[in-house]
């Protein structure tokens, strides 16, 4: 039985200079990608959904602003785009920071951290200082930190940016698994190919507004690509095939 987590929704969200009346209803158990050109407001929307930017965002029936910070932190895990560790912790100590919102026993924390490291194939990195890790390893450890908190929602800002093709695919596979198990996954992604091939739901932002929202084939239709990015795209294969040539 898959647990049903509360939905996350923004209703007519406006952030001066960034977002203009953005609404988004996100379902748990799905993988959503937020796409758009630079400056479209992707990060602002993600921060608002994470409760870091004040706005009309609700988790289930509760406004995020009314939720105690610790409860919110247990429900929503957030991974910023730039999250360099100020101190040279070991990967394991860094992942353990994800347990800070929980008041659980040391054993429960250990189990959650080890599971998170193992899920992202980082167990062998556990005792390495993070400043000695490669970009791809750091990105995986950073995501493991979020997983260790066992949140209902994972909100990540360009987690694939520093990964090569194989690593990005492995990470997406893992996020897909989590979504299938009931976690809500929301990613800001630059790669439309990733969005096309892996997302259940795509939100296209353009100049602070929602230009399109829906399944990838619909949200990334040719006229949207032209209107938002100014590029001509063409579908490959029969309708419904997940392939896009730009």
């Amino acid at each position: 039985m898959i647990p049903q987590h509360p939905a996350l929704a923004a209703e007519n969200l406006t952030v001066p200079g960034r977002l203009l009346g953005v609404s988004a209803a996100l379902q748990p158990g799905t993988l959503t990608m937020i796409c758009g050109p630079n400056g479209a407001g992707k990060t602002t929307l993600l921060r608002a959904l994470a409760g870091l930017q004040p706005g009309p965002v609700t988790l289930g029936d509760t406004p995020l602003s009314a939720l105690p910070p610790r409860r919110r932190a247990q429900a929503i895990g957030y991974l910023p785009q730039h999250g360099e560790a100020a101190w040279n912790l070991t990967a394991e100590a860094l992942v353990r920071l994800g347990r800070l919102p929980h008041r659980t026993s040391r054993a429960a924390d250990d189990a959650a951290c080890h599971a998170a490291l193992a899920a992202l194939d980082c167990t062998h990195l556990a005792l390495r200082p993070v400043h000695t890790l490669s970009g791809g390893e750091r990105a995986r450890v950073a995501l493991a930190r979020v997983l260790a908190g066992q949140p209902h929602w994972i909100l990540a800002d360009e987690p694939l940016a520093s990964l090569d093709l194989a690593q990005a695919r492995a990470l997406l596979r893992h996020l897909r698994q989590l979504a299938d198990q009931g976690t809500g996954v929301v990613l800001v992604a630059h790669s439309l190919a990733h969005a096309m091939n892996h997302a259940d739901h795509v939100i296209v932002l353009h100049q602070g507004r929602v230009a399109a929202s829906g399944p990838p084939q619909q949200a990334l239709a040719a006229h949207i690509l032209d209107e938002v990015w100014g590029v001509t795209g063409q579908w490959l294969g029969p309708p419904g095939a997940r392939a896009l040539s730009l």
Binding site: R47, A50, G51, L52, P69, R70, R71, R72, A73, Q74, I76, G77, Y78, L79, P80, H82, G83, E84, A85, A86, W87, N88, L89, T90, A93, L94, L97, G98, L100, P101, A142, R145, G149
Partner: protein, 318 residues
């Protein structure tokens, strides 16, 4: 308790008795020949050692907390402007002739700095950057006003009294001074310890810390009150003693897991040890016209240490 803390505790267990014996009059514990040995021990050296432990622990822990808060290994409690404001308060007590109330004046100065920092930086998402700038502003303002008061001193004797006091020392301190410094320091240390988990979360930046459920304004107030109480109490009884808060966390950090919270305890112990040993050395160094001032001694050690850190950072950046 980890191994680093145990080693520092063992070192303190050795250093404390030795510090009681060392000084211009050396005391042989097996055959005390000096008739004044007991009064020297109980009335001069014991309070001095106790004060070194209290002030050193406060400076070490507040340095570790500051470095964690600003995510910068070069941060120091002195950067906050709290120490200069406390010193300004103390200097005002000299200028007004109310030297008996000096600790009260110093604590009021520290409280003024804390309130200023809190009001300027609180409630802002980028509070650490504002905090640093507000601290620098307060420090330069306090420095200017202190110089003004010194330049307006009625006679050279008053001027020299102020300047000497500012240099920082543990000489001739009594149990009364310990009683003034210890309670605020203890309270400040408790507040800093409570800031530990939030400082850990801050390792990954302010956004991540907030997403982990920590409130930046609560952390700001814990830091302002914790550092303010500790540094204010220190300045109130010893004058300005710099560099302890910078050096100690640096020396201790490689022996911890690098989390700011795990650095607080060892830094407190390390600060206590450093101040105790440095004060002993000041006492026994032969110097014409009295003893070396502790504040000067630590600055003489600290400045080259700071330079070495800068050079290392430069080579890491190159």
């Amino acid at each position: 308790m980890n191994r680093t803390a145990l080693i520092l505790l063992a070192a303190l267990a050795i250093a404390i008795p030795l510090s009681l014996l060392a000084g211009q009059v050396w005391i042989n514990p097996l055959a005390p020949q000096n008739a004044n040995a007991l009064p020297i021990l109980l009335e001069l050296r014991a309070p001095r050692a106790a004060l070194a432990l209290v002030i050193g622990a406060g400076l070490g822990a507040s340095g570790a907390a500051m470095q964690g808060y600003l995510r910068n290994p070069l941060a120091d409690p002195g950067l906050f402007g709290i120490a200069p404001m406390a010193a300004l308060g103390a200097v005002l007590s000299f200028a007004t002739g109310l030297t008996l109330a000096l600790p009260v004046f110093a604590l009021i100065g520290a409280a003024g700095a804390m309130a200023g920092l809190g009001l300027i930086a609180a409630g802002n998402a980028r509070s650490t950057a504002l905090f640093t700038l507000a601290g620098l502003m307060l420090a330069s303002l306090a420095g200017a006003l202190t110089s003004l008061i010194i330049s307006l001193a009625p006679n050279p004797f008053a001027m020299s009294e102020i300047v000497t006091w500012l240099m920082g020392s543990l000489a001739d301190r009594s149990w009364a001074d310990v009683a003034i410094a210890a309670p605020p320091t203890a309270l400040g240390l408790i507040l800093l310890a409570r800031a530990g988990p939030a400082l850990d979360a801050l390792t990954l930046g302010e956004d991540t810390a907030r997403s982990l459920g920590f409130s930046p304004s609560r952390l700001l107030w814990l830091m302002v009150l914790g550092v303010g109480l500790v540094v204010g109490a220190g300045v109130a009884v010893t004058g300005i003693i710099g560099f302890v808060g910078l050096m100690v966390p640096h020396l201790v950090r490689p022996f911890t897991d690098q989390r700011p919270s795990s650095l607080l305890g060892p830094s407190a112990l390390g600060g206590a040890l450093l101040l105790l040993v440095a004060d002993c050395l000041c006492r026994v160094l032969p110097l014409s016209g009295g003893e070396l001032r502790l504040g000067i001694a630590l600055s003489l050690i600290g400045a080259p240490f700071f330079l070495r850190l800068l050079l290392r950072l430069r080579s890491e950046l190159a």
